[in-house]
């Protein structure tokens, strides 16, 4: 077999799957990637000719929740993705091997596939104390990340930690954790934020690169447009309740049971870009708002600092009390009005007093002219 490429089509052929099955898979893939049906030809062509990529998956300062999410992808199945569609060469949490051999393998892959592999990173990069707050295999994460990033064709930042720093970077950020893109530069970087990101989004992004050999179109914050193009608010099935002013006031009221809008109990949907509203989770089963809890904006930068998650406005702590800007504003406005009235009254009174004094003085000196002064 000459010029054999390890593409998706050759994979189907090896399994003795029909062309029809392959075409059906391509249609499904087009939809998963968030592409229009007119792109089907491109997808088929890419699936026939593009070599499936090697992926190295690193874990940094994080909770591995993104991996937990990733392995629950159902269209495509994660097993299909990591066993058939990509060649996942290194992932320290999914790998069967461990210890020295695995680390050796990583080094080998980086050298062999230099400039060709995709680097998927989960987790932030702690910088303080030379990065000792996160070490993998005895080396700081920053060190291994920079080494792996050098030969990467593209980098995918999976999850809010890799994209923005995540919970480690929440105030006061004791370990000085930063996003991957603040450490690595000069490489195409795709941000896939979320805590965790939607499984289908994670597989979709890596499949997009696998098929087309290029990163998907990104928005101004570096996120793929097909998955982060809309606010959750603008795609939410409860939006009609928002527009009509029907809101949940408390989590145990009738409105909550009726499934009204969660805006007043702090839903961050109006500020959050993600696919929860249209893709939903667990194969379209549900998403936070559908289950009756407001969005906490987990894919937004620094969302941990935008607490309290159950109020629209952040708390402003004052001595002996916690309040919000609206309360402070109202009190201050009433105060300003009172101050203005007092100041106005004082001005008039003082002015009158000075006039009387002046009149008295002029009269004493005999300079008072009724016609001239008393007009």
């Amino acid at each position: 077999m000459k010029n054999r490429v390890n593409s998706l089509w050759t994979l189907f052929q090896e399994r003795r799957l029909s062309r029809r099955t392959f075409m059906k898979s391509c249609v499904a893939l087009t939809a998963i990637l968030g592409l229009p049906p007119t792109m089907l030809n491109t997808v088929v062509k890419a699936a026939e000719t593009t070599e499936l990529p090697t992926v190295i998956w690193l874990h940094g300062h994080e909770c591995t929740g993104c991996s937990e999410s990733f392995i629950r992808s159902s269209s495509p199945f994660t097993s299909d993705v990591i066993l058939n569609m990509i060649s996942l060469e290194y992932d320290d949490t999914l790998a069967a091997a461990s210890g020295e051999p695995l680390e050796e393998h990583l080094k080998k892959i980086i050298a062999e596939k230099n400039g060709k592999y995709i680097l998927a990173v989960e987790g932030g990069v702690p910088l303080d104390e030379n990065g000792v707050y996160c070490t993998v295999g005895g080396r700081t994460f920053k060190e291994s990340l920079l080494e792996a990033a050098k030969g990467a064709a593209a980098i995918i930042e999976y999850g809010s930690c890799a994209s923005w720093g995540g919970i480690q970077a929440a105030k006061p950020n004791p370990t000085n954790t930063v996003s991957v893109s603040s450490v690595v530069s000069g490489k195409p970087i795709i941000k896939v934020p979320g805590c965790p990101p939607i499984p289908e989004v994670m597989t979709g992004v890596v499949m997009h690169y696998a098929l087309f050999g290029q990163i998907p179109p990104l928005d101004s914050q570096g996120r793929p447009k097909q998955f982060y193009g809309n606010r959750i608010h603008d795609t939410c099935y409860r939006r009609a309740f928002f527009d009509s002013g029907l809101f949940v006031e408390k989590f145990d009221d009738d409105a909550s049971k009726s499934g009204w809008c969660l805006y007043k109990v702090g839903c961050r949907g109006p500020q959050t870009y993600n696919s929860c509203g249209n893709l939903r989770w667990w194969n379209g089963l549900s998403y936070p708002i559908q289950s009756g809890h407001g969005c906490i904006g987990c894919s937004e930068k620094g969302f941990w600092d935008n607490d309290v998650f159950y109020k629209r406005l952040p708390d402003i702590p004052l001595a002996n009390t916690i309040t919000t800007a609206d309360t402070i504003g109202t009190v201050a406005a009433v105060g300003a009005t009172a101050a203005v009235i007092v100041h106005g009254a004082a001005t008039l009174v003082r002015n009158k007093y000075i006039d009387i004094q002046e009149e008295k003085r002029l009269k004493e000196q005999g300079l008072w002219d009724e016609k001239k002064h008393n007009n």
Partner: protein
Amino acid sequence: MLIHTDKKAYVVFSLWLRIFHWTMVLSVTALFWTGLYIGDPGFAAITGNPEPTFAIDGWFSMETMRRIHFTAGAILTFSFIFRVAGGFYNRGDRLLPKFRQKRYWYGLRETTLHYLMIPQKHEHHWLRNSLARTAYLMVYIMFFFEIITGITMYSMINPNGILGSIFAPLVTMFGGEYKVHLIHHYIAWGFLFFTIVHVYMAFREDVMEESGEVSAMVSGMKYYAHDPIDLEDLNGKRRRGERIEKPSGTTYRPSNPDDPRERELQEDD
């Protein structure tokens, strides 16, 4: 009729400015109250319809509030742009603080002390005093950021649209859309305080100095017994020895010698 026989009238504000001042007043009022509702929809289900399908037709709903807010926002944006543009053409419309002039710092001290009633009486000799100049500059900056953050949130309904692609980088700049909402919300409260103080100061000036301060925003005229010391901001800089034949923005009230009040005044002097 306002009688200012002993004072001269100075046309300070152009008609252009006066029109947009009042469109801004109306739109900001609408924006503030609808904005408060959008930020915290206090009275839920006022439409009385438990079905959202009917609420769009209701006279009072989030949808209606938002529509009013966006319409007023568009009016404010264009009023602001036109008003600022007018400032390039009419000197009286751009009485900005001039930090490099000694007069500004002298005026800042004088006016602050006057408002603290330390000298109760003072000569009314400013077209616009230093405090007011500073305050108005601050308000223009507030308007700028309020409009920018407002359009940013509005445009992100369609992030791939023309507006969206222009304003999306601002979301990144402000550090997330939540911050944009907060900045918009906090500045809005600033406008309330400005309005309270602004209205008070205008009325106070009108009462204390009899300068026609309040009506100036309708007629464009303020009244002074003598030329204000910052008159050059209105008429242009006067070089030494130069005589400006016809001061551009200044009108003198023609005195009618037959008016008995006029004669009375002349007899006094």
